[in-house]
C-alpha cells in the first residue's frame, strides 16, 4: 500500500467546502493518510504553487510526493474514499 498525502484547499465563504466538510472529516477518521488543509485566501503562496482551481474545494492527491490526481468541487464521501483507495493501490 502506497503512502498517500491529500491537500485540501477550501475557503470559509465556499458553500461546497462546508457541504464537503463532513465527508472529509469522516475520511480522516476512517483512513490513515497525511492530510494538509490550506485556506484559499489565507495561504495564497502555497495555493498558487499548487495551481489550485478556482472551483473549490480542491482535493489534491499525492503519492510519494508526486501529484497523481485531483477532485474538485462538491464531492461525496464515496467519491473521496474511492479516489483514495484507487491511488494508494
Amino acid at each position: 500500500m502506497k503512502k498517500v498525502k491529500i491537500i485540501k484547499i477550501s475557503a470559509v465563504w465556499c458553500g461546497a467546502c462546508l457541504i464537503t466538510d463532513k465527508a472529509w472529516k469522516k475520511l480522516k477518521e476512517n483512513y490513515d493518510f497525511e492530510s494538509v488543509e490550506l485556506d484559499y485566501d489565507m495561504d495564497e503562496e502555497e495555493v498558487a504553487k499548487l495551481s489550485a482551481k478556482t472551483v473549490l474545494p480542491d482535493f489534491i492527491f499525492f503519492v510519494d510526493d508526486q501529484e497523481v490526481d485531483r477532485l474538485v468541487g462538491e464531492v461525496s464521501y464515496e467519491e473521496l474514499e474511492s479516489k483514495l483507495l484507487e491511488v494508494r493501490k
Binding site: 470559509v12 465563504w13 458553500g15 461546497a16 466538510d21
Partner: protein, 375 residues
C-alpha cells in the same frame, strides 16, 4: 450607461443623500451624550426607528442597527449559536445562502457545531419534508434566505416557519436583504432577519438585524449599550435617519413599481427565449432577477464584452469568487451551466429603452464571441 446590476447594489436616492448630509451638518451630538445636542440626536434616532418599525411591521425594540447585512447575518448566526450552545450545536441551512451566512457557519463547523443542508426541489425551493426530517433534538437554528441573490429563487417563508416552529426550541433566521423594497416581508414568521440599506437605494454602511423582542443573543461587538445592548458602538445618526428615508421612499408607489419591473422582466424573458441561452430563473423567482447560462461563452468574457458598451451586469454574487455560480449549480447540478451564468438585475428605475439596448448589444456579443470561438 445601462446599469443592470441592482441586486449587487443600488444607486443612492438623491433625497436619501440630502437627508444624510443634513443630519451630518445639523445633528452633531453623540446620541448617548446627556447635553441638548446629544438629546436632539437621540430624538432623531428614536423617530427614525419608529418609522422603520412601522413600515416593516415590527417593534422598535426589535431593531438592531448594523453595518449591513453581512454583520447582521454574522450576529444572527454566531449570536444564536453562542447563546444556545447548551441546548445543542446543530444548524440547518441551504446551498443558496450568501457567503456571509456560509462563512460564519464554516467558523462554527470548525468549533464543534454540525451543519446540515436541506434538499432543494428542481425549482430551488426548500424541500419541507426533508427540513422536518433534518430537525433534531439538538437543532438550534434554521437559516434560509428569503430570496437567493444569484437566481432570484423566492422561498415560502411562511411554510418554512410552520415546519420550524413545530419545534419550539428551534429558531428561524432569514436573510431578507434581496426582498426589502421588492417584496413584502411578514416578519411575524421570523425569529431573526437581516437586511441592508444599500439594496434599496440607501447608503452603504447601514443595515439591521430584526430580532424578536424576548430572544437573547450573544453580541458580536461588545462595548456597552448603544441603541440596543446587542450591538455596541456610537449610533450612526445620519445613517439611521437615511435608512428610514430610503425605506419610506422605496415602498412609496410599491404596486406601480412592482408592476413596472414585472412587465420589463416578462418582455426581457420573451426576447431572451429567442437567443441561444438557457434561462435559469423561473416564474417562482423574484422578477427583479434574471439568471441565464450562455452556451460555450464564459460568463466573464460576456461581462467584459457588455462592459465595452457601458452595460453592467453580474456573473455571480459580488461577494464571492470562483468561476461558477453556487446557486445555479445547486438548482441545475450542471457545472457547465453554473460556469457560464450571468445575472441581469432590474429596478423600477430601469427603462424599456435600456432593456432594448441591452438585448440588441447582447445578441451582437453572442454572435461575435461565438464567431471568435469557432473560427
Amino acid at each position: 450607461m445601462v446599469y443592470l446590476d441592482y441586486s449587487a447594489t443600488t444607486p443612492v436616492n438623491e433625497e436619501v443623500i440630502e437627508t444624510y448630509a443634513k443630519v451630518c451638518r445639523e445633528f452633531i451630538g453623540n446620541p448617548n451624550s446627556l447635553h441638548t445636542l446629544g438629546v436632539k440626536a437621540k430624538q432623531l434616532i428614536d423617530a427614525s426607528t419608529k418609522q422603520i418599525a412601522k413600515i416593516l411591521g415590527v417593534k422598535e425594540t426589535e431593531i438592531i442597527y448594523t453595518s449591513g447585512a453581512s454583520e447582521a447575518n454574522n450576529t444572527a448566526v454566531k449570536g444564536v449559536c453562542l447563546q444556545y450552545a447548551s441546548r445543542g450545536k446543530h444548524i440547518i441551512t441551504t446551498e443558496l445562502e450568501h457567503s456571509s451566512i456560509i462563512a460564519p457557519l464554516s467558523y462554527l463547523s470548525h468549533n464543534g457545531y454540525e451543519i446540515d443542508f436541506v434538499k432543494l426541489d428542481e425549482n430551488g425551493l426548500v424541500d419541507l419534508e426533508d427540513l422536518d426530517r433534518l430537525i433534531r433534538k439538538d437543532t438550534i437554528l434554521v437559516t434560509i434566505a428569503a430570496v437567493n441573490s444569484e437566481v432570484g429563487v423566492r422561498q415560502d417563508l411562511k411554510k418554512i416557519a410552520e415546519v420550524v416552529h413545530k419545534h419550539p426550541r428551534v429558531l428561524f433566521h432569514s436573510d431578507v436583504t434581496q426582498s426589502i423594497g421588492k417584496d413584502k416581508v411578514d416578519f411575524s414568521d421570523l425569529d431573526l432577519a437581516s437586511l441592508s440599506c444599500q439594496k434599496f437605494y440607501g447608503m452603504k454602511g447601514i443595515g439591521a438585524l430584526i430580532k424578536k423582542e424576548k430572544l437573547m443573543i450573544e453580541p458580536l461587538i461588545h462595548g456597552g449599550k448603544s441603541t440596543t445592548i446587542f450591538r455596541s458602538g456610537t449610533p450612526a445618526t445620519p445613517l439611521i435617519a437615511s435608512f428610514a428615508k430610503a425605506l419610506r421612499l422605496v415602498y412609496e408607489d410599491y404596486d406601480e413599481k412592482r408592476e413596472k419591473v414585472q412587465k420589463l422582466h416578462d418582455d426581457l424573458i420573451e426576447s431572451l427565449k429567442e437567443l441561444d441561452v438557457t434561462i435559469n430563473s423561473n416564474n417562482l423567482c423574484l422578477p427583479h432577477i434574471v439568471n441565464l447560462s450562455l452556451h460555450g461563452i464564459k460568463s466573464e468574457v460576456m461581462l467584459h464584452a457588455l462592459e465595452e458598451h457601458e452595460i453592467y451586469i453580474s456573473t455571480q454574487t459580488a461577494c464571492s469568487t470562483g468561476n461558477y455560480s453556487k446557486a445555479v449549480y445547486a438548482i441545475t447540478h450542471d457545472k457547465e451551466k453554473a460556469s457560464n451564468s450571468i445575472r441581469i438585475s432590474l429596478s423600477y428605475l430601469t427603462t424599456k429603452e435600456e432593456i432594448d439596448f441591452f438585448l440588441t448589444t447582447f445578441k451582437q456579443c453572442i454572435e461575435k464571441l461565438n464567431f471568435r470561438r469557432v473560427s
